[in-house]
């Protein structure tokens, strides 16, 4: 049956014709390509290469970036793309987030003219895959203390260190890697064939199984001088990428929640216990009503944030609030959906358990739930509580 997206407050009416067309294009693609194949992809632990090709052909990678062969869409359109992709699976949205917001964006914003011309058109078309290396085995929430170092050797940079939990790492053609050069965090473009670079895949995940997660290992990795991103120094570099990806996640989480809600509503109406559909029981209705309420609030939050991104009146804390809230409610909705589906809820016949397991990662990456609380705590009080040092 045709997918009917939950849109209780008619946010559709606030979208432009173009935004709706882009949304519908991605929605159709997810229905035809992702949903029928996602369970197998998860089972095999692969991100099907056809999806890379399709995403490139649709022209949605790096959605809000302008020029250099990038789509130049509104942030609202970018959000809608994320929402539809994550309705399919968080892993598909992760691929697009990393490619667009974490790999293309830093080149677009901080790269040289040559770097932009060299990489961006082929990344927008999906020909080249990018990844983003910030997290290290010992430094997750506080990347500022990262160990990975770059040394200036005159003719080249020498990179040493390791990154972990890197989405797309093993399948990437290039990695945007953050490393310290003379104690200052800088961005470097590492290509897959650079000597001293390897990207072994991490296995054994119970979450985001259709997304590739890898280590990046640099052992005297030599990279040419023109691969440093000239336009940024310090944590501002990686953080500005994260802002865009987190924005996308705040929409994506709505998609995952909508998928759970739809499955749950249908299931509750058709499942008969004690002689009546379980949807007729007040306790179940209370849960459905809570889901409707939280999805609607999350949609309004995402939409308004999109408007602020488009008109430039946003601050990073706005994004923290939306990422934190929307992933939080999506995960809670997935758990509640699992409950209403009873035993069936654990089967791969329904999308529930997959969304639930995926959202556990989404809650942690791009700033954990509580790190966003701390960001907001600092915003409210003016007192940072990340570390005990002043």
């Amino acid at each position: 049956m045709a997918y009917e997206a939950l849109d209780f407050y008619d946010i559709d009416a606030l979208l432009t014709e173009e935004e709706k067309m882009v949304r519908d294009m991605v929605r159709d693609w997810v229905d035809k390509e992702v949903i029928p194949n996602i369970e197998q992809a998860c089972h095999e632990g692969v991100f099907p290469d056809k999806w890379r090709v399709d995403l490139g052909e649709m022209g949605i990678l790096g959605a809000p970036l302008k020029g250099y062969g990038c789509p130049g869409l509104s942030y609202i359109a970018y959000g809608l793309i994320c929402q539809e992709l994550e309705r399919g699976d968080s892993g598909v949205r992760s691929f697009a987030s990393v490619q667009g917001s974490l790999a293309m964006y830093p080149i677009w914003d901080f790269g040289s003219e040559e770097q932009k011309n060299h990489y961006l058109p082929r990344m927008a078309s999906g020909e080249l895959i990018g990844c983003f290396g910030l997290t290290e085995p010992d430094y997750g929430s506080n990347p500022g203390d990262m160990i990975t170092r770059a040394e200036d050797k005159g003719d080249y940079y020498l990179l040493n260190g390791a990154k972990m939990w890197i989405t797309n790492g093993t399948i990437a053609d290039l990695a945007v890697v953050w490393a310290k050069l003379d104690g200052v965090i800088r961005g470097f473009i590492v290509e897959k064939d650079d000597s001293g670079f390897s990207a072994p895949e991490m296995t054994g995940k119970h979450s985001l199984k259709a997304s590739v997660t890898s280590e990046l290992v640099f052992q005297d990795c030599m990279i040419p001088k023109d691969r440093i991103l000239p336009g940024v120094k310090g944590l501002k570099g990686p953080f500005s990428c994260l802002n865009n990806a987190r924005f996308g996640i705040s929409w994506g989480a709505v998609g995952a929640a909508q998928s759970c809600f739809n499955s749950t509503k249908e299931y509750a109406l058709s499942r008969i216990q004690f002689g009546h559909p379980i949807a007729s029981f007040q306790l179940v209705q209370n849960k459905l009503s809570w889901m409707l309420r939280e999805i609607t609030k999350a949609q309004l939050l995402a939409f308004h944030l999109g408007k602020k991104k488009d008109d430039g009146t946003w601050i990073p804390e706005h994004i923290s609030l939306a990422k934190m809230n929307n992933v939080d409610i999506a995960l809670e909705i997935a758990r509640m959906s699992r409950d209403i589906h009873g035993a069936n809820g654990i089967l791969d016949e329904y999308p529930i358990m997959r969304h639930m397991a995926n959202l556990e990662s989404v809650k942690t990456y791009e700033g954990t739930h509580d790190i966003h609380n701390l960001i907001l705590g600092k915003h409210i009080t003016g007192i940072q509580s990340f570390t005990r040092e002043p």
Binding site: M21, D28, M58, L73
Partner: protein, 253 residues
């Protein structure tokens, strides 16, 4: 050369259809889409344009909501969009629609016309032959592929139990079946271009057509009978029964 493609917006084949008071309740249709066979007609017209040149003119006759479908057609490559806006399609018969479509095709200068073999809502199947007759054109139906050559067009069509290749010259109408090719998807670039395309919206009067009276009245619609529940067979003993049911009842083998 202008290639006319006739498109109809119909309830999506996956949308729930409700009948109330003996009529399909259009207001309850959750999703409207381009009729599936029309999609193949459009795809083939775009292919023909790519191989042999020309402009693809997408034409629809329908209420205001159908305009969106023309923009969708532009997103995959239609060059010119024409919308003959009429309301209350229910009380208009197919001959009236065909006379409007022929006038639109004439206005757009189309001597080659692509359409679906039937619309997914009415299953009428009269548009292709009817338009051809009014145009004085040849009509090839159940087509899956068209190519241009010196002096005309070659169409591949399904004949009973096989395939047939026929050659016709313009003016001609091709009514499409499901084609062999995969349908193209829109992309962002196409959507951006489509947004800038103007839809020429006209009325039958603008085209100089006086519709006259409908000679057909739809008496009522009724939903299909409920499907009988599925049957389940288990064990090796049931193979013969299952095979005979598949052959004689389901007609699938």
């Amino acid at each position: 050369m202008a290639i006319g493609v006739l498109l109809k917006q119909v309830p999506d084949t996956t949308a729930k259809i409700g009948v109330s008071g003996g009529r399909v309740d259009e207001s309850a249709v959750s999703k409207w889409s381009m009729s599936p066979y029309d999609e193949y007609a459009l795809e083939s017209a775009l292919k023909l344009k790519e191989s042999s040149g020309g402009d693809v003119v997408a034409i629809t006759c329908g209420p205001a909501r159908a305009g969106k479908m023309l923009t969708d057609a532009a997103a995959v490559g239609a060059d010119t969009l024409m919308h003959v806006q009429i309301d209350g399609q229910d009380s208009i018969d197919s001959t009236q629609i065909q006379s409007v479509l022929v006038a639109a095709l004439e206005k757009a200068g189309c001597e080659v016309v692509f359409c679906g073999k039937q619309a997914a809502d009415t299953n009428g199947g009269s548009t292709g032959p009817g338009v051809a007759m009014l145009m004085g054109a040849s009509c090839v139906s159940h087509v899956s592929e068209v190519s241009a050559d010196a002096g005309g067009y070659t169409a591949l069509r399904a004949s009973s139990g096989g395939a047939e290749r026929v050659h016709v010259s313009a003016p001609c109408v091709f009514a499409f079946d499901k084609g062999l090719e995969e349908l193209r998807r829109p992309n962002v670039r196409g959507i951006m271009m489509a947004k800038k395309k103007v839809i020429e919206t006209v009325s039958p009067e603008d085209l100089g057509v006086s519709m006259g009276e409908s000679r057909v009245t739809v008496i009522s619609h009724s939903p299909p009978p409920e499907k009988p529940p599925g049957q389940k067979f288990e064990g090796a003993d049931s193979v013969a029964t299952v095979v005979s049911k598949l052959r004689d009842e389901a007609n699938v083998i």
